[in-house]
Amino acid sequence: MSVRLYFQDFFIETGETSRFAFRFFKEVFTPPYEFKEFLAQCYNVGCKSIPLVGITAFIMGLVVTLQSRPTLVQFGAGSWLPAMASVGIVREIGPVVTALMCAGKVGSNIGAELGSMKVTEQIDAMEVSGTNPFKFVAVTRILATTIMVPVLVIFADTLSLFGSFVAANIKGEISLSLFFNQVFEKLVFLDVVPSLIKAFFFGFTIGLISCYEGYNSKKGTEGVGKSANSAVVISSLLIFVIDLLAVQITNAFM
């Protein structure tokens, strides 16, 4: 493919995705509302991701602390370990790792499910039965990821900090209350709130991209695989782009 065609495709896709997003904002506020389906999707996105996000977050907290500890001790700053871990986890590791895990698990799931629904005419069948398929399958899923990813981030932060405590306490040097006292002492408003706002955008991006890819799936079963793949790859890439922008914006206020 020539460079010109590559860029042409890129801009067409960007335009179509923006149109998809506008349609979401238009449909999300107009009745009828698919509340039951939204709750079902919150369960699928949120509850079913708890084990994966929990284990990953715990291990990340553990590893970050184990890796940082020798260096901090070397510089005589061992007592700063809880503060360093808390800021790193709450600002960056918690939201980004959770979003990436969700992009992998939830994004591929949504991309493949909607792609399969598209190629087996299930979306057409909904349309024929008088249901707005965009509202039923896309709006509910985008809303669910937008709301549940921040919830998962809070859960991941908590477990990650606990993992960090376990790592710090391997030699029995610090109590749980002292560790968390130091954690909350160093955390400020501009650590917590931007990280949660960022998580909303991560969730929205995962839902939007995955639904767009699935909803516009083509070429039969091959297209379903491509949709699932694109949902994960593009969501993950955009998570880093949003993270970069979020850091710049947060730093401007600090």
Binding site: P32, S116, E121, D124, A125, V128, S129
Partner: protein, 259 residues
């Protein structure tokens, strides 16, 4: 049997216009440079079964997808129950669709829902109005009509091809359809199951007094179900008539269907 001229200026061939449920005039549809429907005109009368024959790629599926509003035609008029489909807004179109059953070639059962939920789906907006017991009764009645009451709590993946087709038909019947659209209802089924489905279609037509358009290559199905038949060639109506009339044809484009 009548062979239609190239420009396809066919007048409504069966029921009188006032009793016509579907009226299609000069319908055209292209996808980029590929003209799929070039000029299609016909009507379907109340209680009539119209079988549309044609080779793959002649625009049969596009035709019934236009009728139900899934594909927008480029030009021409398309009236269902006297209402021009192209002029309807989303809500009005949904009202029309409430009277139409569409059996997809792939059945299009919702994989993530049980058979019960699949059948309830077209009526889920009516739960408050009609009450859950009434919906349950209709689900059981629709399943009884297709002889599959024992599958009510099964998932579509647990059903055979023939069973999925029957459940697809049962889901269409949930709305008490006045018009049924069948997109290759017997494709992919063994001859015995295909005949069962064809007989079921005839039985449902009698029970619900519905009009139908049936897209098929299966001549046994056509023989059992057709009141009238159309042969679609290259996006144009090539011939029309009853099964018996078309069967006697010596025309080289019609004869192969009956061999």
């Amino acid at each position: 049997m009548r062979l239609c001229n190239e420009m396809n200026s066919v007048k409504p061939h069966t029921a009188k216009s006032e009793s016509a449920v579907i009226e299609i005039t000069h319908l055209k549809k292209s996808f980029k440079d590929n003209a799929v429907l070039k000029d299609v005109t016909f009507t379907v009368g109340k209680g009539e079964n119209l079988v549309v024959l044609g080779k793959s790629g002649t625009g049969k599926s596009v035709l019934i997808k236009c009728i139900v509003g899934l594909i927008k035609p480029d030009s021409g008029n398309l009236k269902i129950f006297g209402k021009s489909l192209v002029e309807l807004n989303r809500n009005e179109l949904d009202k029309v669709r409430e009277k139409i059953g569409f059996l997809f070639q792939s059945n299009a059962l919702y994989d993530s829902m049980t058979v019960r939920k699949n059948l309830e789906f077209p009526l889920r907006r009516d739960v408050k109005k009609e009450g859950q017991p009434e919906i349950d009764r209709r689900v059981k009645e629709a399943l009884a009509n297709v002889g599959l009451t024992n599958t009510i709590d099964m998932m579509p993946s647990e059903l055979s091809g023939g069973m999925r087709k029957r459940i697809g038909l049962a889901r269409c019947l949930m709305v008490n359809p006045e018009v049924m659209l069948y997109d290759e209802p017997t494709t992919g089924l063994d001859p015995i199951t295909a005949e069962e489905i064809s007989k079921l279609m005839v039985a449902m037509k009698k029970k619900y007094k519905s009009s139908s358009i049936i897209i098929t290559h299966d001549m046994k199905c056509a023989k059992l179900t057709a009141d009238q038949m159309l042969v679609l060639v290259d996006g144009l109506i090539y011939a029309k008539g009853t099964y018996q009339e078309l069967e006697k044809s010596k025309d080289k484009k019609i004869k192969p269907f009956f061999e």
